[in-house]
Subunit: 216 residues, 2 copies
Amino acid sequence: MLSTVSGPVRPAVPPRLPGVGDTQHRLMEAAADAFADKGFHATTTRDIAARAGLSPAGVYIHFASKEALLFALSERGHEAVRDLIVEAVEAAPTPAEALGRLLATFSQWHAEHYRVGRIVQYEFTHLTPEHQAAVRRLRREIDGVVERVLRAGVGSGAFAVDDVRATVLALLSLCVDVARWYEPGIRRSPAQIGATNASLGLRLVSAAPPTAVSRE
Amino acid sequence: MLSTVSGPVRPAVPPRLPGVGDTQHRLMEAAADAFADKGFHATTTRDIAARAGLSPAGVYIHFASKEALLFALSERGHEAVRDLIVEAVEAAPTPAEALGRLLATFSQWHAEHYRVGRIVQYEFTHLTPEHQAAVRRLRREIDGVVERVLRAGVGSGAFAVDDVRATVLALLSLCVDVARWYEPGIRRSPAQIGATNASLGLRLVSAAPPTAVSRE
DNA sequence: GGGCTGACTAAGCGCTTGCTTAGTCTGTCG
DNA sequence: CGACAGACTAAGCAAGCGCTTAGTCAGCCC
């Protein structure tokens, strides 16, 4: 019982992170596991509570409903991906490099987080209309990032693309669909999947022949 | 039995198609609608029965369980797609044409049948292990068709592909993912989606530069 | 006609669901 | 110390679930 004397590890932020944030995070992890295993509707709130080490009623202190948990998962997932690809694009000097990094990052995320990726796609329709709208807004942001890079490349002559919007959709399919077929222990690692999807995606849009390029 | 002489309309197969097959088909349509609208677990057997114009108990005369309905939908969907692409490939003189027709057919099917396509992908985990295995077998058949066409093209020099299995996966993603984002009234028709996906897919694998080529 | 078959229904069983209520316990602050 | 806040639980409610039971009814065969 010495903890009172010197204080544990987090003395500066006692009312936020230590108890509440922790339990909230544990609940989201538990819900992600359960939803990924059995789907949203087949998952019971009792199951989520048990996985988080709480009683069934304990869930409702942190989330208003089971759907609120699904939304929290979806929103955070989309925000994480959006931030990652924005960062990847910003750091790149040319459209080709920007697109390569975007596709690699995007694909790798969907392999590493394939559980959340599937939940976000497969359970989308179980969100309330308002929450669906919020997620759609985030998706449009992500689409916009890809489209801007593509148009930049077309403008600079690096890319040759017939139908920009169709190609954006195809590139997104390439990355998002990774969550559908990936599973741990598969032949390629998430990083390798990112690398091959980047080169496949570039081949889909590059004006120059695919061989012997990339820098200079 | 020469009942063909005077009998009603279907004298040769009276105990099959007229009543039973009709109701079975209606039930599968009803289940497809309901599963697509609300997902497998959120759909009640009462809902399916009502959509098919039956009492709740009427469902169980034709299908042993709600899961059996999902399996029937999945199995028939996969078989339909498999048969379509096998036919498309068989009719083509070159690997390039075979792949083009395959991608077009495959993509168009996923647009036209996006409801069944989503059910088949999103609700897969709710099948019994035995039924999952049966579906996986059908999927492997489909993968095999694509892989064979790709290897034929590589052998003939028409295609240049680094990693055949990764490319097969990418091509399948392109087509399957159509079911995720398609909805009626969208800019492109299912046939147009098939056409653009065919040319995008060919660009992904062709040995020659994408512009103005295909046959020397 | 009498017996049979098979599609179909009314009623309902046993159980599980999401979520609530009423209360306990711990720790903090004046 | 005593008041209070907030994380948490035991118990449970009303509703809804998949599926069954027991029976009706139309058509067919002998």
